[in-house]
Amino acid sequence: MIRLSPQLRAGIQRSTLPALILLSGAMLVAGKTDQTMFETLRTGLSDVAAPALDVASRPLGAAEAAIDRVRGFIGVYQVNRRLEEENQRLLQWQQVALKLTTENRQLQGLLKVVPDRAVSYVTARVIANSGGAYVRTVMINAGSQAGLARGQAVITGDGLVGRLTEVGSRAARVLLITDLNSRIPVKIEGSNTGAVLAGDNSERPRLLYVGSPEALKIGDRVVTSGEGGVFPPDLPVGMVSAVGPAGPRVEPYVELSQLGYVLAVDYGLSGALPQPVPPAVRPGRKSKAASEELQTPAQPAR
């Protein structure tokens, strides 16, 4: 080990704190200018910390389940009656749905409708949240090993949660729809009015660029429009909860502060997007000739 003189050591000790403050400030500015700078570090640390966070968040889940169970016992009689009524009603709806499904399939067959892409889901558990007033993200315990990819939509049974922004091998980060940086193409169900759902860190994100704002009513359902090609269309997002001069706002269907399990939706579109540059077939003159050959039959044949 190198021996330092006491003066030098004292000097180093004194300047550590100011130096580290300056370093953090510099990292802040650098990270702000180039958002991707720390991404490898982020996903790396998330992957390492994921198993620990996974374990640490488990007892919380167990405690909540116990509380839920106790709460469930208290109102069991009323709940049962309500459920029986609801079941009656749903059984009728089931009949209607079955009839409509058959009818729909027959009509689609008659009209030769191109079927929607098959959607696959990956279920994951939330293992960490952002813990602060300035970002709205959660970490989930699945990553690229489970087939997750950047940009995929994340939902629960109630509706849209957000999208994947960073994907490590064992963990991934979900940018919630309420985050300041979240922008989602949406539409108002029924009217097909397009809009952009923009988070601002509050519980209720704003609706920007609404096609016809005067037609907007409180209670209108907001769903994803599928524009941009990353999200499947018609995922429920929320309900218009405010209109007026301050701008329309949306109350999300999902209780974003109480996320347990979520689903990442693979709509299969990332592979379907066109390649930025088409690969060359053959080098040299031949490829030019080949491309001319290809162009010729494009002329309408007589």
Partner: protein
Amino acid sequence: MALREFTAPELPRVNSNAARLVPILTTTIAALVAILPLQIPGYAALTPALALMAVYHWTLYRPDLLPSYALFGIGLGEDLLTGSLVGVGALTLLVTRAVVLRSRRHFVGRSFPAVWAGFTLVGGGMMLGLWALHCLLESSLINPRNTIFRMVLTIAVFPAASFLLGSTQRVLIDGPRLMRRR
């Protein structure tokens, strides 16, 4: 301005290596608890700044055992795991240390209300400063409602955190040393 003001003062030496790690460990745990997904409505937005409390407490009583580089590491880890801008957490913790080191002679050995008042000033000031910094970085006026709620909650929770940290300190750091002296 003298750099001397930013260095930890001479304090009684702690011999046990395990006891020396207590401040770093408790601060790390505080930072981790703040990001665990507790299913309380609004918790993520209104989590009390637990790590800030730990840094205030330890910088006041044992600044030698919670060195700057540990704060830098904890803050950086926090930023990377929560997805916030890298450097924000480290900057907050380090500036808190700098402020507390400069003013600690006003608080050490005083009654708890004075210590709490000190935390209200330092912690509250840090959280407001953080809000201003985020407004600057996002170049938009972020609604201060959540920040204010979070600040009030943090100040309200401080006595409990202070009691826990103080007990830990008495049992694990001060206790063995005093016993040995006797």
